[in-house]
């Protein structure tokens, strides 16, 4: 009985302490530190967990460091008093030339030695952890954009209700920028999307025409209507709702990858045609924001994609660069030209740049799913 309890205790302990990392095939590397020497028993190791056992045989307190290029500290043990042995366990993820150093008396650059790490790039955190980190970092980005969306929509709505048409017109594309950046997340809450971002065409689907585009029509075409303030209030309520939901949503990496693609499709169907902001012609702002959103999703997934398909990362980077450069040519003041100012050739060039990006971006999802 007591034996069984003991076993259980040990099991719990093992579980609590995580999986023990393997101390390399050949055990820990002994380091003998004295006041004027730093003897490292082996000066090479494979990628993965590298363990040093540092024994101070000198008279001064010493420190032991493992440096990567440019003296970036990969690991250190301080306070190795004379006569003590202390352990340094480092995860070395990439092969390369490193440096070990003992610092007797804790001063200066220490007694350096070369240390070579060979083997495959390895991460003790498995692919899943990387994916989890990717979704977390994207979620952080979504949260920051959602906060700005709420802040700017509030300003926009206030201007609309105060009858400040010019102010409202200026705020309209700004508030929409944050919306468009996180659109795939927002679209996952089906019923809110048409309320906030529906075009006039929703009337044919038996829905009411509300949200950004209804206010856009009021501002640019018809002038404020009797129910404009009410519509503005509803927009703010809906945006608050979506911000709360967007912050709580749990995304999967695949959703992220698909989101990056959806944003580009969004550009191809909505922005290139100029149908989305048909009254204000601020389509280029939305265009830029969609591309930002796509870039953010790819950036979050970057470590994952790099591991699976390095060439793809390079391609995606290059195509994003080209599209960015093209968009920059249409800047005007703080924002962008009106969409009506673009020549047919310019629109075609933009469409081509988006298409060129769409193809590698759709491969991102494949790489993630691998």
């Amino acid at each position: 009985m007591s034996k069984r309890i003991l076993g259980l205790g040990l099991l719990l302990l093992a579980a609590a302490c995580g999986t023990p990392s393997q101390a390399g095939a050949d055990g820990p590397i002994a380091v003998e530190a004295t006041d004027d020497a730093c003897k490292v028993a082996r000066t090479s190791a494979n990628t993965g967990t590298v363990t040093f056992e540092v024994t101070n045989k000198g008279t001064k307190v010493t420190e032991f460091y493992l440096f990567a290029a440019g003296d970036r500290i990969l690991g250190e043990v301080e306070n190795i008093g004379p006569g003590l042995t202390r352990r340094l366990i480092v995860e070395v993820t990439e092969a390369g030339e490193l440096e070990t150093a003992c610092k007797p008396g804790m001063k200066g650059d220490g007694i350096r030695g070369k240390f070579t790490v060979t083997g495959e790039g390895k991460k003790s955190t498995d692919g899943d952890a990387k994916l989890a980190e990717a979704t977390k970092s994207y979620q952080r980005w979504v949260n920051s954009q959602a906060d700005s969306l709420l802040a700017k929509t509030t300003e926009f709505v206030d201007a609309v209700k105060a009858g400040k048409v010019e102010d409202a017109k200026a705020l309209f594309p700004v508030a929409r920028t944050y919306w468009e950046r996180i659109e795939p997340v927002a679209e996952s809450f089906g019923d809110l999307d048409p309320k906030i971002d529906g075009r006039e065409d929703v009337i044919q689907e038996g829905l009411e025409f509300t949200g950004f585009h209804r206010l856009e029509k009021d501002l640019w075409v018809t002038g404020p209507q009797a129910d404009t303030p009410a519509i503005a209030d509803r927009l703010l309520t809906d945006v608050k709702d979506i911000v709360t939901q967007a912050k709580a949503v749990e995304l999967t990496p695949l959703q992220l990858a698909n989101g990056a693609k959806e944003l580009l499709d969004e550009v191809a169907t909505g922005k290139i045609t100029g149908e989305e902001d048909r009254y204000s012609h601020t389509d280029l702002w939305d265009f830029r924001a969609n591309v930002d959103g796509s870039q953010a999703a790819v950036a979050a997934l970057r470590p994952v994609i790099e591991e699976k398909d390095k060439a793809l990362v390079a391609t995606v980077d290059e195509k994003f660069k080209a599209l960015d450069a093209l968009l920059e040519t249409h800047r005007k003041g703080d924002g962008f030209k009106s969409y009506t100012e673009l020549s047919e050739a310019e629109v075609k060039a933009l469409a081509a740049a988006v298409d060129a990006l769409g193809e590698p971006i759709s491969k991102v999802a494949e790489a993630v799913a691998k």
Binding site: C17, P20, D71, I73, G81, G83, R86, M106, K107
Partner: protein, 275 residues
């Protein structure tokens, strides 16, 4: 061997012992002995946690990555600065109340939750507790070949506690106004050092830049492994190679907090006299 390990023990133990002793002296002087158990509770929790975590790190293969360690240490330090700063001003407001001879109002002035007392004591001890515990275990492990490091380390800790006790006894003798001014000013410098130390941790983890942009390097003139260097490091977190960021943060903290602490606010009596 005995001496240099002893100095490590002294250094690691001093700051914690100092903050705790000032806190205890303060509570005793203001007749708040009822709060004392909370000080020991905070200290106890920190010791138990450090010893447990130290054991896990020493005797199992569990390990934190270097960045995690430094980020943890840095965050703990900055948190400790916040709480010690709070303690300084809490003492100051109490001193004001006392110097205004409003003894009856004393209780209002130091209506600080026992929780805050627990946190201050916990952070003072826990900040370096993990490193100290791991050091202790390795000195125990080496006791197979030589017991000198272990003995030295324990002696160093004992000296730190003894020094803190002497400070406590001395502080208790001061009259109240002096006590507050001196211990408060001392704590300002302690907190500034903790802040600089925490930032240095974050620089080592490359979370903050500028690790090797040094303001000064006194490794030869004022080494940390000398007895006076160890005392300076223990009390004020002096470091022989101080980065520019550390130096700027230290100066900025002292320049802001010390005057705030020392300037006596105009008492109401004077306002009344102007009428």
């Amino acid at each position: 061997m005995l001496l240099s390990n002893g100095l490590i023990g002294l250094r690691e133990g001093l700051e914690a012992a100092l903050v705790v002793s000032i806190l205890v002296a303060f509570l005793v002087k203001t007749d708040r002995r009822s709060v004392l158990p909370f000080v020991w509770l905070g200290v106890g929790i920190a010791v138990v946690l450090s010893v447990t975590a130290g054991a896990v790190i020493t005797f199992t293969a569990a390990t934190m990555t270097f960045e995690q360690q430094e980020a943890f240490g840095g965050a703990m330090s900055i948190l400790a600065v916040a709480f010690v700063t709070g303690m300084i001003f809490w003492m100051r407001s109490t001193a004001r109340t006392i110097s205004a001879h409003l003894r009856g109002k004393l209780d209002d002035a130091i209506k600080v939750g026992p929780f805050a007392v627990v946190v201050v004591s916990f952070l003072a001890v826990g900040r370096e507790g993990l490193e100290t515990a791991v050091f202790f275990y390795s000195s125990v492990q080496s006791a197979g070949t030589t017991t000198q490091p272990l003995i030295g380390f324990l002696l160093g800790l004992a000296v730190a506690v003894a020094l803190a006790f002497l400070l406590y006894r001395g502080a208790i003798r001061f009259d109240l106004g002096k006590f507050f001014t001196w211990t408060g000013a001392l704590l300002v410098f302690v907190a500034a050092g903790v802040l600089a130390y925490g930032l240095h941790d974050l620089q080592e983890a490359a979370i903050l830049p500028g690790l090797n942009t040094l303001a000064f390097d006194l490794s030869d003139t004022l080494p940390e492994d000398s007895w006076y260097g160890a005392l300076l490091k223990g009390i004020f977190n002096y470091s022989q190679r101080t980065s520019v960021l550390q130096a700027v943060a230290w100066c900025a903290y002292v320049a802001v907090v010390l005057p705030l602490f020392l300037i006596r606010p105009r008492t109401r009596a004077r306002v009344a006299a102007n009428h």
